[in-house]
């Protein structure tokens, strides 16, 4: 790990220089009330004074609509083509530690077994610049799932705001390469203790006990009652930085077409419905149960890690104000 410093006013120069070099820069941008990751053309567009973006930056490596391959009918034969890799690097700026841990999970999920070609093409060309959280809100619960607001997991570069400058941790080779390309904006630095610059996020439940307490939660009798407000809109899954479920659809024209991968969500009935009409998860409570247990139990059994990173987006965005913190606490109290 290497350390640098960058003066606060030099940060905008650094970001604008990245944009000038034709790299795609994604950063949090204010829409109306909410902040979304969007492509920005100048540092001034970056949102200030927000706690968390409405949607995560996962679309940089797992977009809502991705071409798996294209096909064309040429002389009676079908010719299949892989999609090309992105031309330029994508730099994602302003990634919170929860989201960094989410990218780490995405990399494990997509690359460990049956490595995913499309994810890798994008991931290899994506550089993540994280930023330590100075504060959180009542929906944040990273510390309850074993992540701290200054965690560097999954990130390439980490910035922490000090009094007059940003403290820079260079975590990976990708990060190192980027800093070297723009080294004129950075000064050398020593390692420092980030604690006093890091938000204090209360622990709502004990992350070490989650797996044990949830292991027989499938049969909990209160699933029906606790999921009544849910009307299955799917917003939680779409805004979640670790939700990876997808649909495969073909789009055709008379000469060919493509097979596409699209975001999907287990919150809707159609997700598990068989062609025969049978649906193993007929009721919303069964779908809600599956969501909670998947994030806090099943992925732990598969990969050894919870797939919830405590970003709180699901609860913040939920139109029926369901709270995942309350849900997990309720189960753990049984």
């Amino acid at each position: 790990m290497e350390y640098r410093k960058i003066k606060i006013d030099k940060l905008s120069n650094f970001i604008n220089a990245i944009i000038a070099k034709n790299k795609k820069l994604l950063a949090p941008k204010q829409k109306k009330e909410k902040v979304f990751f969007a492509e920005i053309k100048s540092f001034d567009e970056i949102a200030k004074n927000y706690i968390q973006t409405a949607f995560s930056a996962k679309s940089a490596v797992f977009p809502k609509c991705e071409e798996l391959f294209s096909y064309e009918k040429i002389n009676g034969e079908t010719v299949l083509k892989n999609p090309p890799p992105p031309e330029n690097d994508t730099v994602v700026f302003g990634v919170r530690p929860c989201d960094g841990a989410a990218f780490d999970y995405l990399a494990t999920f997509f690359l460990k077994e049956n490595p995913d070609f499309h994810f890798k093409q994008r991931y290899d060309k994506t550089i993540l610049i994280g930023i330590t959280c100075e504060s959180g809100d009542e929906f944040c619960f990273c510390t309850s799932v074993g992540i701290s607001p200054s965690d560097t997991r999954g990130l390439d570069i980490m910035l922490t705001k000090l009094e007059n400058e940003y403290y820079v941790e260079i975590i990976t080779d990708k990060g190192s390469k980027l800093i070297q390309e723009f080294s004129e904006y950075f000064e050398n630095a020593e390692k420092i203790d980030k604690t006093k610059y890091t938000a204090n996020i209360p622990e709502y439940f004990n992350n070490k006990l989650v797996r044990e307490k949830l292991s027989d939660a499938f049969a909990w009798e209160k699933w029906d009652e606790s999921s009544l407000p849910c009307f299955g809109c799917g917003t939680c899954a779409f805004s979640c930085p670790t939700c990876t479920c997808f649909d495969i659809q073909d789009e055709a024209n008379p000469y060919g077409g493509s097979r596409l991968r699209l975001w999907d969500t287990c919150a809707i009935g159609l997700f598990t419905k068989h062609a025969s009409g049978h649906n193993p998860r007929e009721k919303q409570s069964e779908r809600w149960r599956n969501r909670v247990l998947h994030k806090f139990l099943y992925t732990d059994e598969q990969f050894g890690t919870l797939s919830c990173v405590g970003c709180g987006r699901c609860s913040r965005n939920c139109p029926a104000s369901l709270s995942i913190i309350d849900q997990v606490k309720a189960i753990m109290e049984v």
Partner: protein, 277 residues
């Protein structure tokens, strides 16, 4: 790195109409290099597609002992199967596979085998039945119990005859009461009932069951009564599948992905999964 979503290009060599709305397609690889590096084991499945319509999941219904082609049997149920049914011999379709785990045939050597299938549940077992019959000397008694709603709903009618004529196979066919025709020579009754009647021995026997959920539900108690234990009852699972490689999440039952950790599973393992079935 390979793009795992890119299908092999296959062409339909032969179409067999098995029953109303049920067809078997014999497929060959368009590209001989694909055929050379392709191999599969009994129990695995694939994603068959019509470009522009989508993909559908069926087991590979032919045996790996028979080289040069693969077969799939499907019933027309939705958009993609309808598009597949509209294809003719010589048409091109896509195939991704083989995916999933396999029947542990090596562990079955020296044992008796009991195959129980209902209706459209015979195709997923046909691959392993033919695999075992092609290696007949490795196994003791082989019994096949197959039932369908009516005579016309029986699939692989030609092969049923072949199996019936073999002296080293005990074939019992049955149709539901009311489904028999005047010249029907097989049994009449639901599969669990006929199984009870036949009373095959459970000692040193492996049972593989496949069929509609209600048939499996009523067949299992009979098997337990006959003395079969949970590790020796196999089935092959079905669930909504899309990617086939454990990524899209559709087929997951708890931490178990039917496409990756299945579809072949013992009854004992099935009990340990969240009871969403």
């Amino acid at each position: 790195m390979e793009n795992m979503y890119l299908p092999y290009r296959m062409f339909i060599e032969k179409i067999t109409e098995e029953a109303p709305l049920v067809r078997t397609y014999r497929l060959k690889f368009k590209n001989p290099q694909d055929e050379e590096k392709f191999s599969f084991k009994a129990g695995q499945f694939g994603e068959y597609s019509v470009f522009g319509e989508g993909e559908s999941t069926f087991c590979i219904a032919s045996s790996p002992t028979r080289k040069g082609y693969i077969e799939c049997t499907f019933r027309v149920a939705g958009r993609v199967t309808k598009a597949l049914a509209n294809c003719e011999e010589g048409d091109e379709i896509g195939f991704r596979g083989p995916y999933g785990n396999t029947f542990p045939i090596d562990d079955w050597k020296g044992k008796n085998l009991l195959f129980i299938a209902g209706g459209i549940g015979l195709p997923p077992l046909r691959c392993v039945i033919w695999n075992c019959l092609d290696l007949r000397e490795n196994f003791n008694d082989i019994t096949i119990l197959y039932g369908a709603r009516s005579v016309q709903d029986l699939v692989y009618k030609h092969e049923l005859e072949e199996w019936n004529n073999r002296s080293d196979v005990n074939l019992i066919t049955t149709v539901d009461p009311g489904g028999e025709t005047p010249d029907w020579k097989g049994k009449v009754g639901f599969v669990p009932t006929i199984l009870k009647e036949a009373s095959p021995k459970s000692e040193n026997t492996i049972a593989a069951v496949c069929g509609p959920p209600i048939m499996i539900k009523l067949t299992l108690p009979v098997l337990f009564e006959l003395g079969f234990n949970e590790e020796n009852i196999f089935t092959t699972l079905e669930n909504r599948m899309k990617c086939g490689i454990g990524k899209c999440g559709h087929c997951a039952v708890g931490p178990y992905y039917v496409c990756k950790d299945g579809p072949v599973i013992t009854y004992k393992e099935l009990q340990s999964l969240p009871q969403e079935y």
